[in-house]
Symmetry: C2
Subunit: 189 residues, 2 copies
DNA sequence: TCCATACCGTACGCTACCGTACGGCGGTGA
DNA sequence: TCACCGCCGTACGGTAGCGTACGGTATGGA
């Protein structure tokens, strides 16, 4: 995973912080515990970062890149907009189960450093969804409504899982049927 | 609100803790800050509670009662199931905007004391919604699906608001039309 | 009136974490 | 080989909150 060198980079710290957020939330971004986890000391940390805030910012920046821009870029390689939407939905469903980072960031929505990033990411994702619906032929206003609806469903789903009550088939043909049903509802004029 | 006496009860502390959760999340349930806020000292607190955990438990118990059982009891006074559903939806929409406690508890879903309470509350709410749909004439399995769908929409909505992007008319005739639309979708066979 | 009981104030020790100061080590270029 | 620089280890002081010990006060019932 990380290089076998014992010297750490700024990005190593940011990645560790992001992992800590996913596991235990914002409060887990603490310098000394992270240092223990990375088998180093605060001396390393304060060389790469001015303070704890700077680390949180770096971690959230990483999240924004990897969990929004990168996903959009990958989906954009699909040519057919309907296939794009399907790919988006399936990856969202799978991610909502395995990957806890989105839920963890949502949970920290009130944190002053999280709020602006979260707002940007939410807007970006809804915008992209709306764009896909426009490419499917819906007029702008309707496209945005449907984008919002789709994203709300995603959020609600992650929260249900957080609450320990998953009700969505997360794999296999059950999921395929489920995705098709959702797709039908979302694209039905 | 509270009695003009300066002596506090166990419930006063629990209510203050719940308010603190709504404002600033689980980590805000801290003895000394709460004591300052109540214009008293830790001496009072440790008379009424064994420790911080006990306070969190009491606060969550209060939440469970006031934000689930009490709402259900009030809605139950409505005779027509379709009216019950409408009342439930409108109060949910209004609450999702004004009242931040539900979102704050969701945000603490990973906390060991929150998780079981949240699981119970979620189950209870979905069960109740399913019951209403059964009373509307849907067969049990379909009723549960629709209950889940409705609750997912509620959760997604609160999360969107948390992310600073509200897209739902929260009052007036706009909300009435919106509720009617939702009602139509949810009860359409 | 007097005392028991319920409740609160205060001082203390403990732990976890933040941030700083500074010394040291190891690799790289002259 | 030596000096320099990037990176890390360590020790320290400061703060915030938890929990405890114990003394103090007020209030209602005998």
């Amino acid at each position: 995973m990380t290089t076998p060198t014992r010297r750490l980079s700024r990005t190593d710290w940011a990645a560790a912080a992001l992992a800590a957020i996913a596991e235990s939330g914002m409060s887990a971004v603490a310098v000394e515990p992270l240092a223990r986890r990375l088998a180093t000391t605060k001396g390393s940390f304060y060389w790469h970062f001015a303070n704890r805030e700077a680390l949180i910012e770096a971690a959230l920046e990483l999240w924004e890149q990897e969990h929004t821009e990168a996903v959009i870029a990958r989906v954009e390689r699909e040519v057919d907009p309907r296939q794009r939407l399907r790919l988006l939905l399936t990856s969202a469903i799978i991610l909502a189960q395995e990957d806890l980072i989105d839920a963890a960031v949502l949970a920290g929505a009130r944190h002053p450093l999280v709020a602006p990033v979260l707002a940007r990411v939410t807007e970006r994702r809804v915008d992209y969804l709306a764009q896909v619906f426009r490419q499917l032929g819906f007029p702008p206003a309707q496209a945005r409504d449907r984008g919002l609806l789709a994203y709300t469903a995603y959020l609600g789903q992650t929260q249900l899982i957080q609450a320990g009550l998953s009700a969505v088939p997360s794999h296999g043909p059950g999921m395929r049927r489920y995705v098709d049903r959702i797709l039908g509802i979302l694209t039905n004029p």
